[in-house]
Subunit: 577 residues, 2 copies
């Protein structure tokens, strides 16, 4: 090794040892006849000292090094007179006896400090320099530790990792595939997997019992702010299980990951039905770090002559604890927020609960103090609170109220990134109606098992059939989802019928899986977690881009390596393109 | 869980417990008023017993299940009168009280037994059934354990896993890329990585210090017997290291893997120069499970009037210990073997050393007993041995002799798959001359550092420059290779010059890496292991296909899912294809 120690490891107990360190120059300070250099590597920073009295030539050489030079130094560990309690190595410094410049550096295009002056584009272009910054590096280390914690748990629980292929077959259903032209099979294409779903089910048919894989998946979508064309999944499947077995297994995994990576006890993870989640929060991934549950106010809001409420299917109110402190201006801003076309509310009604117990609403003309008292009772509002009310058809009002609730959570600083609230959401609808194609689509995927007691609705009211499916949400973000699968080919056939697959279409797309199910498919179920999202939550960041070493931008471009790019004529010819 | 225990876990100590098992019917034996079913899952086999006296209806139901049916049974663990010492569960059986058929099965297209009657094509098409066979399943479990052992070692050694991108940029040099058309960037393509080489070097520039990844790589080659278009690498890189550091680190890793996966001590791994490997074995990946080192016989073979030797640059002999037992017929077959066009020897000379110390050669006309005694001395041959001799130009003779040596190793059963001999080969040539393009190519890749003391040959004799590169071979197979990299951009520029890259070409292909090297690139080096190959060796199989869950055939086709395949018009249009 070119070094005897790392830059993060020397302590007061090492004083008077002669050591060699290598690293990058974080900064240099010149003070009269002395210079100090902070030397940085992945493990920390160690102060180097150079003194004219000790070696004038060396001091001069030290003064030739600038930020981000790579140097090697040998010297004696010495107790610092001026200790730095913020640095693990802050009790010592290295009095340098030998300095080698291993590589010089141009001045970086942005400062390599925790707070940098570089914009996002330039930092992506020079990602290898951005990773030198501690907050960026730490997220990659957290990702590594999360990966390790997941594997440790699954290995101990008897799961075995199996690598499934990346060059598979395109299935036109669902999201768009990336395809790969085959040179040896002219005019044919592989597709990159959107998930290993069918392969993991085949592995259950093969008897491997418990499978996992931390695996890249690919989706050619129109990129939104926080999507990446390639992303990583923790993909798992188990045999001879019922839903509760899957929930217990992966609740324990996620709790274990939080404990081992950030030393946080998630506690027991509550289970909520999809119906309750929508009813109480208007979302299938409710943020449970704060309350503001929905209150259905039709009984106390309708029939008082206020036409907007009277003509609405639903009237929903939420109470902001201590919200009476909101100013008129703030309430106007909130009203404008929900009236934005993306949310689409027609307006926002509020009712303040004053300290003296009186009420002040924006619809006082229609609702007297007694009527507003009823509101407060339904909405469990107390003195100092404010109630916000939206109305309209049930579905839209729930959606709008979800947006308002999250916005108010932000405004009231109730969404603390260092607090974590997870929940399971279960009993999703099996099917969703697609207006465009005028048929049902599988809400998860066509192999999701219905809840068997709902099966008699299959002809009368298929939309009401619940799926034996489950999602896990943390802090309002979906981080995982899965289901018990259909293992019976008769039931699978019924599902394909419902989804409007002709037998030919079903055979063409899923023939090998349907074939496999003829040869003793066991009951099985599984789950997949968004690994990038999980790492983002554990790193306290909103963006998955922060936890990906070399992310792509919103156009799916890697601006560091400048990909995608044109290929040459020879390549095109070979691929018949 | 649908079961209380697995089929591999019940023991005599569990007798009289009531348990529930799930699994596949391995076989059923009917004996008068009784039936026995072997129930199989990933963990083992448990015998189920059904008895007419105990429950006639149940016996009848049991007799309706066939091979590969999935069933669930509840019953009492009972000591067997007829114990099976070959089965961990062989002391007990389950007297079944309840039987549920979870899924029936068609008769499988081949028998699900350790020795199957299925050919390779049918087993690939029904791979999910083939994996039910213990020898196939065991290899996937070994792969999982190897993966875990590698990670455990590297995690402990301070390496962090970083995922590098799969959608990168095509580089026309080297093997052929698989490309991925970009929909959002018309007429542009991503490429799938042949290895994460440049990304891991960028991670070293970023200061991550020690990186690893177990990662899929892709090469669009014309498939030979044991190549796969997608394969898995253990990819590693370290900062501030010299060659010996890399060798020590990964020697320890490989030894640890052998210990933990197959409980085998590899011992210290010898280091051999490329020059010695070629001189002594004619191969840069010598199989050291057996001797038969090359002996250079020019001094004792030339000048005796045998024209073939006299006109040859080299005369090489190897001694087969105990080889005098080979019959004339066997020697003829060996001679035909080396004369095949793939090997291309003109003929094969032999010399038997008889028990009485006399010699009998195929060229007795030219060489008397004294001359042959000299042969025996040079070749260290003793009574009972045989010497085989090839001659010609040095390079070809070494190659032919390597083939002969391996063939004789097989013939004499010296290549035992349960014995393991590893070695490092170092000091590879930096460059190889390509007759076709009339220029030098990098033997490893353009970032490989030369051995610095050879640098003064750069103008006079570049072909003689040694690379600071190393390979690891086990049992004659290359399983890993790497190098110390060039971190100095001046030296890198010289390399590109030598390789005939114009500055524009170099910038276009490696511009981002050359840019990165301007900003403080540290000395670094690394290695990559072929994970499939390593797993194959540990599993005692010759073919990497055996250790891949869903391999492709020789035409790069996945015949189970029938990929690649045509894509539809809509997809082509969206991709402008």
């Amino acid at each position: 090794m070119l070094r005897s120690h790392t830059c993060g490891e020397l302590r007061i107990t090492d004083v008077s040892e002669t050591v060699t360190l290598c690293g990058w120059v974080q900064r240099r300070r010149d003070l009269g006849s002395m210079s100090f250099v902070d030397l940085r590597d992945r493990y920390g920073i160690t102060q180097l000292s150079f003194n004219e009295d000790f070696d004038g030539d060396l001091l001069e050489k030290a003064r030739s090094v600038s930020r981000e030079f790579v140097i090697s130094v040998t010297g004696k560990v010495t107790e610092r007179s001026n200790k730095n309690p913020n640095l693990p190595t802050g009790d010592i410094e290295l009095v340098v006896e030998k300095l080698d410049i291993l590589n010089p550096s141009l001045t970086p295009p942005f400062t390599i400090e925790d707070d940098t002056d570089g914009g996002e584009e330039i930092r992506l272009k020079y990602r290898y320099l951005d990773i030198r910054r501690t907050p960026v590096k730490d997220k990659l280390v957290t990702r590594h530790e999360t990966n390790k914690a997941v594997r440790d748990y699954l290995n101990n629980a008897g799961f075995i990792e199996v690598e499934t292929p990346y060059l598979i077959k395109s299935t036109p259903e669902g999201a768009r595939d990336f395809v790969v032209p085959s040179r040896l099979n002219e005019n044919q294409f592989y597709a990159l997997p959107q998930s290993p779903q069918t392969f993991k089910q085949l592995l259950m048919v093969s008897g491997l019992d418990r499978y996992y894989q931390i695996v890249k998946c690919f989706r050619d979508e129109d990129f939104r702010s926080d999507r990446q064309p390639e992303f990583t999944q923790i993909d798992c499947e188990m045999t001879f299980v019922e839903r509760q077995d899957v929930l217990s297994t992966f609740e324990e995994m996620i709790r274990g990951v939080f404990t081992s990576v950030i030393n946080h006890d998630l506690g027991e993870i509550p289970v909520m039905t999809y119906a309750d989640a929508i009813r109480n929060y208007g979302s299938d991934k409710p943020d449970l770090r704060f309350g503001m549950r929905f209150n259905y106010m039709e009984d106390v809001a309708k029939g008082k002559g206020f036409g907007i409420f009277d003509n609405s299917e639903s009237v929903i109110g939420i109470t902001v604890s201590g919200g009476n402190q909101l100013t008129r201006k703030q309430i106007d801003a909130i009203t404008n927020y929900v009236k934005r076309p993306q949310i689409g509310a027609k307006g926002l009604i509020y009712c303040r609960v004053n300290e003296d117990g009186s009420y002040k609403s924006s619809v006082d003309k229609f609702f007297d103090q007694d009527a507003l008292k009823q509101w407060a009772e339904v909405c469990e509002a107390n003195a100092g609170d404010i109630i916000f009310v939206l109305s309209g058809d049930l579905n839209s009002t729930q959606k709008q109220m979800n947006e308002l609730r999250l916005h108010l959570g932000d405004l009231m600083e109730l969404r603390n990134p260092n607090e974590f609230k997870a929940c399971w959401v279960v009993d999703f609808p099996l099917l969703e109606w697609d207006e465009e194609t005028n048929r049902y689509h599988a809400m998860h995927h066509p192999f999701t098992s219905p809840i068997l007691e709902d099966l008699d609705l299959i002809n009368s009211d298929p939309g009401a059939i619940r799926a034996n499916a489950y999602d896990m949400a943390i802090n309002g973000m979906e981080i995982g989802g899965g289901s018990i699968r259909i293992h019976d080919k008769g039931l699978q056939q019924k599902m394909f019928d419902l989804l409007g697959f002709t037998p030919d279409e079903a055979r063409e797309q899923f023939g090998f899986l349907m074939n496999a199910f003829e040869y003793g498919a066991p009951p099985h179920g599984g789950i997949a977690f968004g690994f990038d999202r999980l790492c983002a939550i554990l790193s306290g960041t909103d963006s998955i881009r922060d936890v990906i070493a070399f992310p792509k931008n919103n156009m799916g471009r890697d601006i560091m390596i400048d990909a995608p790019a044109e290929i040459n004529e020879h390549q095109r010819r070979e691929l018949s393109l």
